[in-house]
Protein backbone atom coordinates (compact mmCIF):
# COMPACT_ATOMS: atom_id res chain seq x y z
CA UNK A 1 0.00 0.00 0.00
CA UNK A 2 1.02 3.62 -0.27
CA UNK A 3 3.41 4.82 2.39
CA UNK A 4 2.78 7.64 4.80
CA UNK A 5 4.13 10.93 3.51
CA UNK A 6 3.29 10.06 -0.10
CA UNK A 7 1.16 12.61 -1.96
CA UNK A 8 -2.35 11.14 -2.16
CA UNK A 9 -3.31 10.55 -5.81
CA UNK A 10 -6.07 12.87 -7.04
CA UNK A 11 -9.28 11.20 -8.16
CA UNK A 12 -12.74 12.01 -9.42
CA UNK A 13 -15.56 9.48 -9.08
CA UNK A 14 -19.32 9.32 -8.82
CA UNK A 15 -20.75 8.42 -5.43
CA UNK A 16 -23.79 6.27 -4.63
CA UNK A 17 -26.10 9.22 -5.32
CA UNK A 18 -24.47 10.07 -8.64
CA UNK A 19 -22.63 13.09 -7.26
CA UNK A 20 -19.12 13.77 -8.53
CA UNK A 21 -16.59 13.66 -5.73
CA UNK A 22 -12.98 14.77 -6.12
CA UNK A 23 -10.21 14.47 -3.60
CA UNK A 24 -9.39 18.13 -4.24
CA UNK A 25 -12.91 19.01 -2.97
CA UNK A 26 -11.45 18.33 0.48
CA UNK A 27 -8.32 20.40 0.13
CA UNK A 28 -7.20 21.67 3.53
CA UNK A 29 -9.20 19.00 5.36
CA UNK A 30 -8.36 15.54 6.58
CA UNK A 31 -10.02 12.76 4.64
CA UNK A 32 -10.49 9.11 5.54
CA UNK A 33 -10.56 7.01 2.39
CA UNK A 34 -12.00 3.62 3.28
CA UNK A 35 -11.69 0.86 0.69
CA UNK A 36 -14.08 -2.05 1.21
CA UNK A 37 -14.33 -5.20 -0.87
CA UNK A 38 -18.03 -5.37 -1.60
CA UNK A 39 -21.12 -3.48 -0.55
CA UNK A 40 -22.92 -5.23 2.27
CA UNK A 41 -20.90 -8.38 2.80
CA UNK A 42 -19.41 -9.54 6.07
CA UNK A 43 -15.70 -10.41 6.45
Amino acid sequence: MLHTGTAAPEFELKDHLGRTVKLSDFKGKRVVLWFYPKADTPG
Partner: protein, 81 residues
Protein backbone atom coordinates in the same frame (compact mmCIF):
# COMPACT_ATOMS: atom_id res chain seq x y z
CA UNK B 1 -14.99 10.17 5.39
CA UNK B 2 -15.26 8.57 1.97
CA UNK B 3 -16.07 4.93 1.33
CA UNK B 4 -14.86 3.43 -1.90
CA UNK B 5 -15.43 0.09 -3.61
CA UNK B 6 -15.74 -1.39 -7.07
CA UNK B 7 -19.51 -1.65 -6.75
CA UNK B 8 -22.05 0.06 -8.96
CA UNK B 9 -24.00 3.10 -7.89
CA UNK B 10 -27.11 0.97 -7.23
CA UNK B 11 -25.17 -1.50 -5.06
CA UNK B 12 -23.59 1.26 -3.05
CA UNK B 13 -26.89 3.09 -2.70
CA UNK B 14 -28.45 -0.05 -1.17
CA UNK B 15 -25.43 -0.39 1.16
CA UNK B 16 -25.67 3.25 2.29
CA UNK B 17 -29.42 3.00 2.83
CA UNK B 18 -29.16 -0.19 4.83
CA UNK B 19 -26.60 1.20 7.27
CA UNK B 20 -27.70 4.85 7.16
CA UNK B 21 -24.27 5.96 6.00
CA UNK B 22 -24.24 9.70 5.59
CA UNK B 23 -20.92 9.88 3.78
CA UNK B 24 -20.30 9.32 0.06
CA UNK B 25 -19.67 5.79 -1.17
CA UNK B 26 -17.56 6.14 -4.29
CA UNK B 27 -18.07 3.78 -7.21
CA UNK B 28 -14.66 2.90 -8.61
CA UNK B 29 -16.06 0.54 -11.22
CA UNK B 30 -12.97 0.95 -13.42
CA UNK B 31 -10.59 0.28 -10.48
CA UNK B 32 -8.48 3.28 -11.47
CA UNK B 33 -8.48 4.76 -7.98
CA UNK B 34 -8.09 1.33 -6.39
CA UNK B 35 -4.99 0.76 -8.48
CA UNK B 36 -3.62 4.26 -7.75
CA UNK B 37 -3.98 3.53 -4.04
CA UNK B 38 -2.72 -0.05 -4.40
CA UNK B 39 -6.00 -1.50 -3.12
CA UNK B 40 -6.20 -3.41 -6.42
CA UNK B 41 -3.55 -4.80 -8.71
CA UNK B 42 -5.52 -5.29 -11.89
CA UNK B 43 -8.53 -3.59 -13.55
CA UNK B 44 -10.33 -6.93 -13.42
CA UNK B 45 -9.81 -7.49 -9.68
CA UNK B 46 -13.15 -8.36 -8.20
CA UNK B 47 -12.73 -6.76 -4.79
CA UNK B 48 -10.74 -3.95 -3.26
CA UNK B 49 -8.35 -4.74 -0.43
CA UNK B 50 -9.41 -3.48 2.96
CA UNK B 51 -7.11 -0.50 3.01
CA UNK B 52 -7.91 2.65 4.87
CA UNK B 53 -5.98 5.83 4.26
CA UNK B 54 -6.06 8.98 6.31
CA UNK B 55 -5.11 11.86 4.04
CA UNK B 56 -3.87 14.95 5.81
CA UNK B 57 -4.86 18.53 5.13
CA UNK B 58 -1.59 18.84 3.19
CA UNK B 59 -2.76 16.16 0.73
CA UNK B 60 -0.26 13.58 1.93
CA UNK B 61 -0.96 10.12 3.31
CA UNK B 62 -1.00 10.51 7.07
CA UNK B 63 -1.94 6.95 8.00
CA UNK B 64 -2.13 3.80 5.90
CA UNK B 65 -4.01 0.95 7.54
CA UNK B 66 -4.35 -2.60 6.27
CA UNK B 67 -7.57 -3.47 8.01
CA UNK B 68 -7.51 -6.99 9.39
CA UNK B 69 -10.50 -6.66 11.63
CA UNK B 70 -13.05 -4.77 9.58
CA UNK B 71 -15.76 -4.58 12.19
CA UNK B 72 -13.42 -3.32 14.88
CA UNK B 73 -10.69 -1.28 13.30
CA UNK B 74 -12.67 0.62 10.71
CA UNK B 75 -15.39 1.42 13.20
CA UNK B 76 -12.86 2.72 15.70
CA UNK B 77 -11.27 4.86 13.05
CA UNK B 78 -14.59 6.28 11.92
CA UNK B 79 -15.51 7.12 15.52
CA UNK B 80 -12.20 8.84 16.15
CA UNK B 81 -12.42 10.96 13.06
Amino acid sequence: MLGISFDTQAENKAFADKFDYDFPLLCDTERTVGIAYQAAEHPKDKYAKRYTYVIGADGKIEQAIDTKDPAGQATELIKSF
